[in-house]
Structures are given as C-alpha cells and as structure tokens.
C-alpha cells in the first residue's frame, strides 16, 4: 500500500507492506540516517522518532499507521538551519560518544523538556529509561538536559 506522510518537514511517499515497521521504511526504503536499529523490541530507543510530536519506537510502529501523520527525527530539529537548543546542549556537554543512541536520546530529551520545563533528576532518568547508552554512563546526557531547565 502507498503511504504519505511528512518527514522532517518534507512530504514523502512510500510503498509499504502490511507488516513493514516505520523503522524498516525509514531506514531501508528511504535511507534515513537519523534512526538506528538496536533491538527491534522497543528496549534500546535507538529507533525513536516523534509521531505527531509524541516519542514513539519506530521499530514498534507500523508504517501503515503513519499515513497522514507528521514524523520527526533528530535531523528535523534544526530551526532556520541552526541547531536546536537541545542539540547545542548535547554538544556542549559531550553527551555522546559513539553517537548511535543519540538521535533517539535527543528526541526524548526534547519531549521531556516540552512537557516539563524543570525536571528533577529522577524525572529525567524515568523519562530516559527507554533509551539505552553503552558509552557515556548517562551523566553528561542528564547534565545537558538540566542545563536547559527553566526555574
């Protein structure tokens, strides 16, 4: 079936199979770099995108479901070509090493700050519980998020 959706501000179309996941279509069909395969079961978060503004595991979302919706990845966060605040904060705080978890991590960090402008440490760790990182030990990521908290 043919689906049409908005991806990082661009209108896209794709022919998808009934059982195709959004991840499969983004990565293997459309060549999107800003989602990564880590587990296929919604545990690691490397595949996370925003669907109509809400963070979702693209590996657990059917491609057919996003017909008519808006999908955003870390690549679509720039504002007038400049890095978004959350992206700058990650760079400044060295909140990435290998970079594989980063696109998903950035989106959840952004979604958290959009819902909660002043999260506690506990709220940050709870929000990020579905994003695994094997390199940084999480602390620089939490620091990057805290640096954007508005009191």
């Amino acid at each position: 079936m043919r689906i049409r959706f908005v991806l990082d501000g661009y209108d896209v179309e794709a022919d998808v199979k009934l059982t195709d996941t959004l991840f499969r279509v983004l990565k293997d069909r459309l060549g999107v770099r800003s989602v990564h395969f880590g587990c296929g079961e919604g545990s690691c978060g490397a595949c996370i995108v925003l669907v109509d503004g809400k963070p979702r595991y693209s590996c657990l979302t059917l491609a057919a479901s996003v017909d008519g919706k808006k999908v955003t990845t870390a690549a679509g966060l720039r504002v007038d070509g400049e890095l978004a605040e959350i992206q700058r904060a990650f760079v400044e705080h060295n909140a990435a090493q290998c970079g594989y978890c980063t696109p998903g991590m950035i989106l959840v960090a952004k979604a958290l700050l959009d819902q909660n402008q002043n999260p506690t440490d506990e709220e940050i760790y709870e929000a990020l519980a579905g994003n695994l990182c094997r390199c940084t030990g999480y602390v620089p990521i939490v620091e990057a998020i805290k640096s954007l908290a508005r009191r």
Binding site: K17, L18, C59, L62, Y125, L128
Partner: protein, 279 residues
C-alpha cells in the same frame, strides 16, 4: 456497508466495525493497540498475519471519573492516563512506574491487561481495585471481573468476535497502593509487583483485595492474604501476618530469580504498599 482496508490493513473508526472485522477476518489477523507487544512478534518473525486491525482510531481512549466510579477506554495510553489527577492511587502509581516517554505513548490499558509477565503492571493494580473488563462482541456487551479474566497463560475470557473496549472500577476503595521491584532503579522489567485495595476504618478492615504480578504469566489475587486481612483490625500485626501469605498457594512460573527470593520479595512489597495504613 464495507469497511475500507488497504492491503489487509484496517483502521476502523467505529467499534462495531472493528468487531465485525475481527469476526470476518478470522484467525490470521493481528489486532494492534499500541503495538508494544504485537509488533515485536512481527519483528521476530513469530507471526505472519494476513490482516492487521489497528484500534488507534476507535473512540475508546478516555478516562471517566464520577465519584468513586472509574471507566477507562482500552486504547488509553499510559501517557494519557498520567494527565489525570483523579485516578485511584494504585493505578496512578502503576502508571507512574512505567518508565520511558516512548513506552508511555504506546502502552495502552487494554494491551496491558493482556500482556504476559513481566509486563502487566496496570493489570496488577486494576485487579486490586476489583476492576471489570468491558467486552463487546457481535452478541452485545458483557463485563468480566478481571480476577476471572485469565483462564491460563495467554488464555483470556474473550470470545472470537469480542474486543476489550474499556475497564471499569465500580467503587474505588478507600485506600489503594501499588509497589513494584525492577532490576534497575529506573528501568528494566518488573521482577514482582503487589497492589492492595482496602476499605477500612480505625477498628476494622472491611474489605481487602491483594494482587500480585510478575510471579505468574498474569497477575493473581492473593486470597490467602485477603482472608487474613478481612474483618481484622488494621494493626501492624495483621499486616505482617498477611504479608506472609501473599505468595501462598501459587505455582511460580516466571522470573529469573529463585522461588525463595520471589516469595520474600512480594512479602516485602506488600509491607511497603500498606506502610501508610500501618502507621
């Protein structure tokens, strides 16, 4: 009237259409709410459906609280639940314990009722609230007490043409709580969980419901512990007696941990759940 689908993918807008589809399309159909479990089966090549019914467009995402009566639509996500301030305490605590923003946006109440351990935190909490599963099929609607909903591992009291459309609590108890234990502080699957619902005053516990998750495929009611509590005074001694009985009569089928550990764990979780009432 035909229900439109595309290459086997259906997004019905009316519950009656969804039910009709489920009946017509038969066995090789996957019904998906949030997809947290169903789409995993696809990713691991464990199922090969010929049709998929997505429930996402059905008008069954709602939270209705009227006095002590609560009704929650089956496709209500954990994220939506958490926007409500007036949830029964046990349910609010269970919802808050499900961590990760992306999981909260996908996990649904209906899906959680059917999810096997280690998932099913909401089911555990709802069971201690004496919740009922609201089903609708081609022959009409019916309500099944959650404590009678599970016939066996992954076997439910649902007919072929029925869908869960809501879960209902007729009367929220005076006190309820939910405690769970995971391998890591903020993440990881539930190792065990305990939910408690009590109606009590200073002198007597009039009604008690205790449910346990994580030890068996689906949560169970700890009736031995409930018998200790009902009619007795709400003293520390009563609760500690009950704590010893929380895993009575249960054949533990789940968990990577020893039986002895799991039994002690659920006793400890029960005590934590009733801490406020004990003091």
């Amino acid at each position: 009237m035909s229900i439109e689908g595309d290459a086997g993918f259906y997004r019905p807008k009316k519950l009656s259409d969804a039910i009709r589809l489920k009946k017509i399309l038969g066995d090789k159909t996957l019904v998906i709410a949030g997809g947290t479990l169903a789409v995993q089966l696809l990713n691991k090549y464990l199922v090969e459906p010929e049709a998929i019914i997505s429930l996402e467009d059905l008008p069954i995402s709602y939270v209705k609280v009227a006095g002590r009566r609560v009704e929650i639509g089956a496709t209500t996500t954990v994220a939506s639940l958490l926007k409500h301030r007036d949830l029964p305490q046990a349910l609010a605590e269970a919802a808050r314990s499900i961590h990760g923003l992306a999981l909260r946006e996908a996990a649904t109440v209906g899906g959680n009722l059917m999810a096997p351990a280690p998932a099913g935190d909401l089911a555990t909490a709802l069971m201690a609230l004496d919740a009922e599963v609201m089903l609708r099929g081609s022959r009409g609607a019916r309500a099944v007490p959650l404590s009678k909903f599970y016939r066996g591992a992954l076997q439910y009291n649902i007919r072929r043409d029925e869908l869960i459309y809501a879960v209902r609590v007729r009367r929220v108890p005076g006190f309820s709580a939910f405690r769970k234990f995971t391998a890591y502080r903020y993440s990881g699957p539930t190792i065990a969980s305990v939910a408690v619902g009590l109606d009590l005053d200073r002198r007597r516990i009039r009604r008690a419901a205790v449910s346990v998750g994580g030890l068996t495929t689906h949560p169970y009611r700890a009736t031995a512990a409930e018998r200790v509590l009902t009619g007795r005074e709400p003293s520390r001694e009563t609760f500690e007696d009950a704590a010893q009985r929380v895993a009575d009569g249960v054949s533990i089928t789940h968990g990577l941990y020893s039986e002895a550990y799991l039994r002690r764990l659920v006793s400890a979780l029960f005590v934590r759940a009733v801490e406020k009432v004990m003091s």
